[in-house]
Each structure stands twice: as C-alpha cells, then as structure tokens.
Symmetry: C2
Subunit: 297 residues, 2 copies
Amino acid sequence: MPPVSEPSFSVEAYLRAVAARVEAPLRRAVERRARTAPPRLAEAVGYALLGGGKRLRPALVLATAEALGGDTSDGSPAMRFAAALEMIHTYSLVHDDLPCMDDDDLRRGRPTVHKAFDEATAVLVGDALQTMAFELLLERPDARTAEMARLLAENATLMVEGQARDLEAETRRLSAEETLVLMRSKTGALIAAAVAGGAVAATGSDQGLYPVGLGLGLAFQIADDLLDLTASAEDLGKRVKKDATLGKATLPALLGPEEARRRAEGYRDEALAALAPHGAGAEPLRALARYVVARRK
Amino acid sequence: MPPVSEPSFSVEAYLRAVAARVEAPLRRAVERRARTAPPRLAEAVGYALLGGGKRLRPALVLATAEALGGDTSDGSPAMRFAAALEMIHTYSLVHDDLPCMDDDDLRRGRPTVHKAFDEATAVLVGDALQTMAFELLLERPDARTAEMARLLAENATLMVEGQARDLEAETRRLSAEETLVLMRSKTGALIAAAVAGGAVAATGSDQGLYPVGLGLGLAFQIADDLLDLTASAEDLGKRVKKDATLGKATLPALLGPEEARRRAEGYRDEALAALAPHGAGAEPLRALARYVVARRK
C-alpha cells in the first residue's frame, strides 16, 4: 500500500493567488487617494501598501470565508475586510518602524517609509491607512459590515496595546505569562480578527472561530521569533536578531527554541482540531494553519 | 420701542453642558482601556482625551441632531458619534504636536503627550484613539452607525491629507486657493462630518448639511488664524504666532486680517441662511455658527 500522501494543496500558490486578488482593492484605494491627496503623501501610501508582503492576514480572511461557503469575489464584504485588515497591518508596520519606536531601516526588503520619505510622512501614512481601512470596509455600509468594522477596530486597539507592552519589554524582563499576553495583543489580535472577520463576512457570526485565530496568531509569532534567531536579513527582508539586541521578550528566548516550537505546534494542533469538522472547503485554512509554523521566511 | 434683543441663548453655557455630557462616554472608554492596556498607555490616553478642550465638534454633532429632532441621550448614535469625533480630533492633535510634525510643547494649557510621557507613547495614543473611536461608535453596530462610521473614516482621511498639505506649506508658499484646499481638508472635513453625522444620527440622511458644516469649518479656521495673530499663549493654552514663524499658509497672512474676517463672516452667513428654515430647534446650531467667528479663544 502506498503511504498516505500529503494533500496536494500548495499553500504557497494559495498565498500568491490571494496576494494577486487583494492587490486590486488595495490599488484602487491608493488611486482614489491620489485624486485628492498631495502627491508625496499619495505616493508614500502606495509605497507602503503595494510593497509586497505575504498577505497572510487577507489569506486567512478569505480561506475562512471560503470554508464557510462565503462569497470572496472582488467587492464582497470578505474581500473588503481582507484589504482593510492588510491596511491596518501595514499602518502598524509603518509606525512600528519609526525612529521613536523600533527604529528600523528595512522592511519587506526595501527602505522603511520614514527612510524612503521622511518621518512626518510616515506618521501621516500610518494615520491615513487606518481610516482608509474603514472607508474601504464600509464602502457599502450595512449591519454586517458594521459588525466587521467593530471587530476590526477592537482588535486594532488591542494591537496598539501590544505595541505598548513591547516597548515596556525593553525596560524590564517580562515573564513567560506576560510575554503571552503581549503576543496575544500585538500579533494575535489581528490574526484572530482575520479568522473571525472571514466568518462574519460569510455567515454574520464569528462561528466561535476567534480563539482558533488567536491560537494561529500565537503559533505565527513563535515561528517568527524562531526565524529571527536563525534566518538572515536577506531571507526575511528585514533586520534580524534585533529582538535579542533590544532585549525583547520572546518565547524562544524565555523557554528555549525546542519548547517554544512545541508550544507553536500545540497551538496549531488545537486550531486544526477545531477546524476538523469543517470538511474539504476548510483545507486552505488548515493548510495555512500548518504553514504558520512550518514556514521558513 | 426697545431694540430687538439678542437671543438669550448662551453658547458658552451650551458648550459647557455638552462638555459635561460627552465626558461620560469618553471617560467610560478610557476606563475600559485601563482594564486591558499597560498602565502607562491607558494613563496617556486619559491624559490626552480628558484634558479639556472646547468640545466644539461634539457640540455641533449634538446641536445638529437636536435641530432635526434626534435623540442625543447618553448611548444614542448621536452621542456616540460626538464622542468618537472628539477621539479622532484628539488623536490628530497628539500626532500633530509630535517633534517630527509641528513640534509643540503646549496643548490645552498643559504639556503635550510626548512631553508629559514620551514620543513612542504619543504615537501609540494617537493610534489607539483612532480605532477606539470606531469601537465606541459601533458599540451597537447597525446600518445607520455603519454609514456614520463611513462618514467619520472618509473625513478623518481627508484631515490627514490636510496635515500633509500643511507640511508642504512649510516648504513653499501656497496660493490663497491652495490655502483654501488645505483648510477644507485639515479643519473643514471634521467639522463638516460633525454636522453631517449629527444629521445622519437623527434622520438617516445628512440632509444636505455637509456643505454647511464645511463653511463653518472654514470660518472656524480663519477665526483661529486671526486669534493666533493677536492672542497670548495664556489665552489659548498653546503656542501662538507659530504659524507666522513656520511660514504656514493662512488666509489672514495671504489676504490681510480685514479681508480674512470678511470671508469668515461670509461663510457664517451662508451657513445661517441654510439653517434659517430649521426653526427654533436649530437655535443652538445657529448660535454655534455665530460663535465660531466671534469667539475670543
């Protein structure tokens, strides 16, 4: 008997397809901005938003909506949420890279916005992206997109709390428990919002999937911290080993890489167990759950 | 015959009453933040948001809703919009005061957030306030609050474009026409959103009042620029004559104070004419329209 084969589904191909699909609403939003904004600001918004990235959060939105039989075509609430979430994620990177924050020069393999433009422009790009996200999501405002906007706002605020905890971690050593609280808010909240938002787009309810997304967020962050220990800047397109340099709290640093990896795999397996009843339509979402731990960049 | 008396309505008393009423939802939002946020961030959010201010934008929201017979009680869509708009306005002040922006040390008579705390905290306070605004507005999400959130997002993005134009004005001299475009986006958009949002809260439609709000925003900005030329820092609770120092574009600087004042009065009179059919219920709104030009601080 041949061995049970791995599913033939390619998560890399899925991510590339999502990146191509989400580009359309993002590009339209940038073009609309360019009609009214001063050219330098419009250019900087486009530089930040259309500069690549894995588009993992949009992929989680669309995979969850698809798992529940939802429409993910261009202009659908799910696709608008996917693009809005990527705008919120992008704003957080632009502000996080600022000199008064993490002071990073490199992002997605290119100079950060305040390096390519200037600091004031980077502040304004982040600010503009925040409300552009809600404009896009609420293009056709109704009760369902209102609930999705509430979910987006709530988790974006939690993310800011996580950023504040991250700054705090530079001044004193956090415990493993405090580090988990940090990870839940800084990374977990938006990834949980991706899964929950995809579910609301498809069905009007989050279907109890928020904790699944939160687990994937924690698994993603641990994998990210493990990569930061081992990868090169060329691999990641951003400065590496900066967490250790800044004395930032990460689970690999606190528990050792072996135990941290075990935890990440535990979160992934809990998510996969919760998704097991969802049938073949949830295979892209399950593949993404495996990918967040297994990825090499 | 005695002279026709001025209406006995006191706009100062109305503003004080609005400030007291809007304090409740703002304070609740700060307290909710304090339950999950790191203490320093929660404290800084409270410092920025509960630190006074005229609360002119909330007053315009509530006065417009009242003029159209809408509910403005605590928890109503109008009151939630009033508080959300004040959060957006406050975030813009916190970010605008940053060293890389206007670099101001004094705001509402107290040290600015980055002076009282630090620069990273000020960035995060502004970011948190942006999404806290949408959380509050969408506390009970439905189609009407979705439309109000769309309106808020659209005009908050326009405001950021105005900030970018303001920075541009430090590098080259703007024409009077470009200065009007700057004023429309930087100040006009949020004040127009106040009036339009109050109308949507009350009736589900902006009742064509957006341009009335925009005119009031322009009148307000001209009056502000005139005060900047004449008042003391103690009067205004912020640095004065900074516009001239920074070479910023203002109508008083471009057209002279006399002509600028005439323009402000013209915008006010257009707004009053548009509001004339709205009867006695619109008297607070008309009083606010007179106030934005006549105010002394």
